[in-house]
């Protein structure tokens, strides 16, 4: 009985694949989404100036010419050429938008980084924007702010130029959301640190030239005993154990790395010993807003592609789109996307004026993760069988976006932060 069912299913699926291979050709013809409304309000924008829009236009050209044509191939290969892509972006000035001018950056404020994150959402996968985000806004901000001149010359400058690929070593096999419990340590021996331990979920890990490593450098309270160190990835003792095979973000190589008696000069310490945790926390707001900007454009594109598809796909003699449940649901999702966009722009505007936007940034990240899952899930449903194939963007988006509620600060962590600001977390019983 099970065998018969199996053969029926396989036949049905092979019929689907043959159908989808012919459909793929027609899908590709319209696969460059024509913006239905083509609307983008460029004047009277709350946050963006003509320069922001010029930035987006230039970046879009690079994406259309040098990135998107290769995405399918890189997704299939499970890796994208980071050095090549980063050099391209570095040449055009996109890797140092808010970094100091002395090191090749543009010294612009964070709103330009957000404009860039939004535009990167036009890349037809989540892996590459994520990898770029690590390079620009996760592995380098602390170095830019607190690193010594020598250190910045060695690591920051080439990273901004696109000559060196960076990765961030924070999460470990045994410590993710609870960063304070990481076990990797860097013990001082003369004028070197000796590093032992390992890191997990290291984006760009198999291609990186250096790692911004968070390690324990002393005993003491877990928030005050960690430091950030610039670790060259070709140092003896650094083992890239494996490239992790993931459900999504497949074009981004994610490594599990081990350190066995790795020696790093002490001058590679960023800023002060013991301040590593604080430094890393300082950039969380930026990371979270960045992730939000990125996913907004992707969600826009998915909605537009779904509208296009359901407009021409007929069911019960009329376009799928004409069924009220479909266009109403898309309207709901579009509404929520705009709300999230407003939150993002409002938070960014406050942030660039020097305000602390931890609560708003955490809310934006939380909503971004959850909304993208809803958008992916609802839209995929409307694509029907086609949505289930690897030929369409919506299935890739479904897989890629799922990470957002997990990485960069899990939903649960965001909720805790918001509760902290709302003062609703349980308090320890008062001491007698």
């Amino acid at each position: 009985m099970a065998q018969r069912l199996n053969s029926v299913v396989t036949r049905h699926f092979s019929k689907l694949t043959s159908l989808s291979s012919t459909r793929k050709l027609t899908e590709n013809v319209s696969s460059k989404p024509k913006t239905a409304s083509g609307s983008e309000i460029t004047s009277d924008h709350l946050l963006y100036t003509p320069e922001h829009f010029a930035l987006k236009e230039s970046l879009k050209k690079i994406i259309d010419q040098d990135i998107n044509p290769y995405v399918d191939q890189w997704e299939a290969e499970g890796i994208f050429p980071a050095h090549k892509v980063f050099k391209l972006l570095g040449n055009a000035g996109f890797l140092g938008v808010n970094k100091p001018v002395e090191y090749g950056g543009l010294g612009l404020d964070f709103s330009y980084s957000i404009a860039m994150s939004e535009e990167l959402g036009n890349i037809r996968c989540g892996g590459i924007p994520m990898a770029i985000g690590v390079q620009t806004d996760m592995a380098t901000p602390a170095l830019a702010r607190f690193g010594s001149t020598e250190l910045k010359k060695e690591f920051l400058l080439p990273s901004i130029m696109g000559d060196k690929v960076a990765c961030l070593g924070v999460s470990e096999v045994g410590a993710g959301s609870d960063v304070a419990t990481i076990k990797t340590n860097a013990v001082r021996e003369g004028d070197e640190y000796v590093v032992n331990g390992g890191k997990m979920w290291t984006t760009n890990g198999t291609q990186a030239d250096w790692m911004c490593l968070l390690a324990n450098t002393s005993d003491g309270p877990s928030h005050k005993n960690k430091s950030l160190i610039c670790l060259p990835m070709n140092s003896p003792g650094v083992h890239i154990a494996r490239k992790i095979d993931k459900m999504g973000m497949r074009s981004s190589d994610t490594a599990e790395v081990f350190f066995v008696d790795v020696r790093v000069p002490c001058k590679n310490l960023i800023g002060q010993e013991g301040m590593g945790f604080t430094y890393q926390m300082l950039q969380f707001q930026e990371e979270r807003l960045w992730a939000c900007g990125n996913i907004l454009t992707m969600m826009d594109n998915i909605i537009q592609e779904t509208i296009q598809y359901t407009r021409q796909r007929k069911i019960f003699k009329m376009p799928v789109l004409y069924h009220q449940s479909v266009h109403f649901r898309l309207a709901e999702l579009e509404t929520e996307i705009e709300l999230l966009r407003s939150l993002l722009h409002r938070s960014t505007a406050l942030y660039i004026k020097g305000n602390d936007v931890t609560k708003l940034a955490s809310m934006a990240k939380l909503k971004a993760g959850r909304l993208s899952r809803e958008v992916g899930d609802s839209c995929l449903q409307y694509w029907g069988g086609m949505g289930f194939t690897s030929d369409v963007l919506v299935s890739r988006f479904y897989r890629d976006a799922r990470l957002l509620s997990i990485g960069g600060g899990a939903d649960e962590v965001m909720l805790s932060i918001i509760c902290k600001y709302m003062d609703t977390l349980p308090k320890p019983p008062p001491k007698k």
Binding site: S37, L55, I62
Partner: protein, 253 residues
């Protein structure tokens, strides 16, 4: 040494789905994404390349229209043009503006700026006129090298390889001249972020057609704009004989 004028037109972005206004007076432009005409981008790129080769001294980007066209001029500045000129045209004059008015403006500017070359895109993707370059040359009584796929400056002369129906035609014309850029002339650079920020400081001069002694009156009136007819479904036939019979039946053969 020489100065080049480059014309840049702000058009609806090529990727946008065009919609006709309900009153059929034109297409919807409000709130729709606009960008530089792709052939104008190629023209700018060629001019900037000539400047980088030190064959010309200054590149001036010119656009005619309402305030929004300054965005397009800024893009040209970010690509490497030295300064811009915004010829302000708005309202009814802008709606009625066509190649004749533009070429009059360019002819006046060419004299005022003492330009040795005018480089334009061969046509705009919104009206597909392919007239401005030719009209400008005629008004100035200058030689023209249109549909250029290769441009080489040789002293006071320009060698232009033109894309024509039969293939490629090479001509040599004296400067000052008008050139129009075809698709294969070059691949336009994208403006790097540092250049975008530098472009903020470059100057854009503002003037009106009247300042150039140009009369904007149009002798062309658009009566009606319609969408192309919807493509009808095809009919499948089983055999060649059926095909011939059907073609005969509907009078095609």
């Amino acid at each position: 040494m020489s100065r080049v004028l480059v014309g840049v037109k702000r058009v609806i972005d090529y990727a946008v789905k065009i919609r006709v206004k309900p009153d059929h007076s034109g297409v919807v432009t409000d709130g729709v994404k606009h960008s530089m005409n792709p052939f104008c981008e190629i023209a700018v790129e060629e001019a900037v390349k000539l400047k980088e080769k030190k064959l010309i001294k200054e590149v001036v980007a010119v656009s005619c229209g309402p305030t929004q066209v300054t965005e397009t001029i800024r893009t040209a500045l970010a690509m490497g043009c030295d300064r811009g000129i915004h010829v302000e045209v708005s309202g009814k004059d802008y709606e009625a503006m066509g190649p004749l008015q533009i070429s009059k403006i360019f002819a006046a500017l060419a004299k005022k700026e003492e330009a040795s070359l005018i480089i334009l895109g061969k046509q705009a993707i919104d009206d597909d006129c392919n007239q401005t370059g030719q009209m400008t040359a005629a008004l100035l009584d200058w030689p023209q090298g249109t549909f250029a796929s290769e441009v080489t400056i040789d002293g006071e002369k320009v060698k232009v390889v033109r894309e024509i129906d039969g293939g490629l035609e090479t001509i040599k014309i004296s400067m000052p001249a008008v050139l129009t850029a075809d698709l294969r002339l070059n691949t336009p650079r994208y403006a790097t972020l540092p250049n975008i920020m530098k472009a903020k400081k470059k100057k854009i001069a503002n003037m009106k057609p009247a300042d150039l002694g140009v009369d904007m009156v149009s002798r062309v009136e658009v009566l009606r704009v319609d969408e192309p007819p919807t493509r009808l479904a095809g009919v499948k036939v089983e055999t060649v004989d059926d095909l011939v019979a059907k073609l005969r039946a509907n009078g095609t053969i």
